[in-house]
Amino acid sequence: MSWEPKIIAFLCNWCSYAGADLAGVSRLRYPPSIRVVRVPCSSRVSPAMILDALKSGADGVLVSGCHPGDCHYLTGNLYARRRFYLLKKLLEFVGLDPERVQFAWVSASEGDVFAKVVTDVTDRIKALGPNTKFRKVLRVEGKS
């Protein structure tokens, strides 16, 4: 089997998670690369969580929330947008491949957009290859 990247996708419960479900209901196809973590709002996701995902071995991280104006919590996504902008610029600055960390707006009715975003992000990360820079080699810890 060819290498398939593993991407952690933080999806807000109200829009993007529903959009991902709709992609399934519509039987759209996208690469089996993403591992979805459901969060209440894109603003729940802190930069440290994104970095932790990369550190744990993610080849990429996708954070997706509601479109501006649609946030279930009114403005959470707009605060998140600022945070993510700064994080993305900082990661770019230190030479971490900027394509590895992606942010999106996907509404509950945009199953097709979700599928396209996942496909596109997966392609980009495939082109970069595995995350070797920011991955901490972990041992699976057993119960002692």
């Binding site: 970095l51 501006p68 707009l78 700064l86 900082l90 230190v94 992606q102 920011f134 901490k136």
Partner: protein, 326 residues
């Protein structure tokens, strides 16, 4: 004796005499000519200890919390005033409890640049304008001031404080015309070269002593994320990924807050260019959100506000839309 030092002493005298403050927090000579330090003056008799340091010192705002309950007069060049403003915005300091003695800042010299001038530095004479006379064990040298200034002073956008209770007379450096030159130099490199720089200049040098955090007047969390164990964001070893994560999150935690006082770099025993990370975020905050930290105690912080028109072209969906793919 420089006139700025005289002015500071005079003003401090008056502040204590008039009861505008109980103590004065400022700078004094250190044990070596190129090592000044922060001091607290409690009585008028001690005022003669106060100086305007020619050579850079840590940010005195960092010790404000130790003086809680006392009204403090603070010798404040631009960056110190800005640090206090951020602390006020974040409720750590009450504006009324600090008397800001504003200093139009001529910039401070970089101790490591001075040290490099000779084996033993005996004396310095700084005209605070153009030249510095350096007396070393090898002889005397006159050096252009610009050559010896700290990088953060060279890149300073606000040498004169905007927020103060009293502003001393004097001539400040002009605001830097190219505050982000060093940042731009890194930005211009290729991704791999940037990563290499980050690894070599920051990650591999770091011994995780956290002096940068401890020196920072704006790092005041009771438990720093770097020390937290639930969850443990940063491993306790010197794994390069943990170190990188520490530096990225440290810089991010200062986004829209850092006042570029240079304390982190001054404190770093490994000469890590820590400011470049915070400066990068400062640059982004200014260009993307027209935001500068520490200029207005009433203004919201960078991350507690937003504008509808904040940039979003960095988002994959907007990019795909622009490409006509979605």
């Amino acid at each position: 004796m420089s006139t700025l030092t005289e002015k500071i002493r005079e003003a401090a005298q008056k502040v204590l005499a008039e009861g505008l403050a109980e103590v004065v927090l400022g700078y004094t000579h250190g044990s070596l000519p190129y090592r000044n330090r922060v001091t607290v003056v409690n009585t008028p008799e001690e005022i003669s200890r106060l100086i305007w340091p020619s050579i850079g010192v840590l940010n005195p705002a960092n010790v404000l919390h130790k003086l809680k309950g006392k009204k403090v007069a603070l010798i404040s060049p631009g960056c110190v005033s800005r640090a206090v403003v951020v602390l006020c915005q974040e409720g750590q300091v009450k504006r009324g409890e600090v008397y800001l003695l504003g200093v139009p800042c001529p910039g401070m010299l970089d101790p490591s640049k001075v040290r490099a001038l000779g084996k033993k530095i005996l004396r310095l004479e700084d005209d605070f304008k153009e030249k510095v006379l350096v007396v070393t064990s090898e002889g005397e040298k006159i050096v252009g001031r610009e050559e010896l200034l700290r990088q953060n002073c060279l890149e300073c956008r606000h040498p004169t404080p905007l927020v103060y209770d009293q502003l001393l007379e004097g001539e400040a450096r002009k605001p830097s015309p190219s505050p982000y030159q060093k940042v731009e130099e890194i930005e211009a490199r290729e991704v791999s070269a940037r990563w290499q720089w980050f690894q070599e200049a920051v990650v591999s040098r770091c011994i995780r002593c956290y002096a940068c955090r401890n020196a920072c007047p704006l790092c005041y969390c009771p438990t720093c994320f770097a020390d937290d164990s639930r969850p443990q964001w940063v491993g306790k070893t010197r794994d390069p990924v943990d170190t990188a994560l520490y530096h990225l999150v440290r810089a991010y935690h200062l986004a829209g807050r850092c006042v570029d006082c240079g304390s982190c770099e001054a404190a770093c025993p490994m000469d890590i260019p820590l400011r470049l990370l915070t400066k990068k975020l400062e640059k982004e905050a200014l260009s993307a959100f027209s935001f500068e930290s520490g200029l207005d105690p009433e203004a919201p912080l960078l991350l507690t506000t937003f504008r509808e028109e904040d940039p979003e072209d960095f988002m994959i969906t907007q990019e795909l839309k622009a490409l006509g793919k979605i």
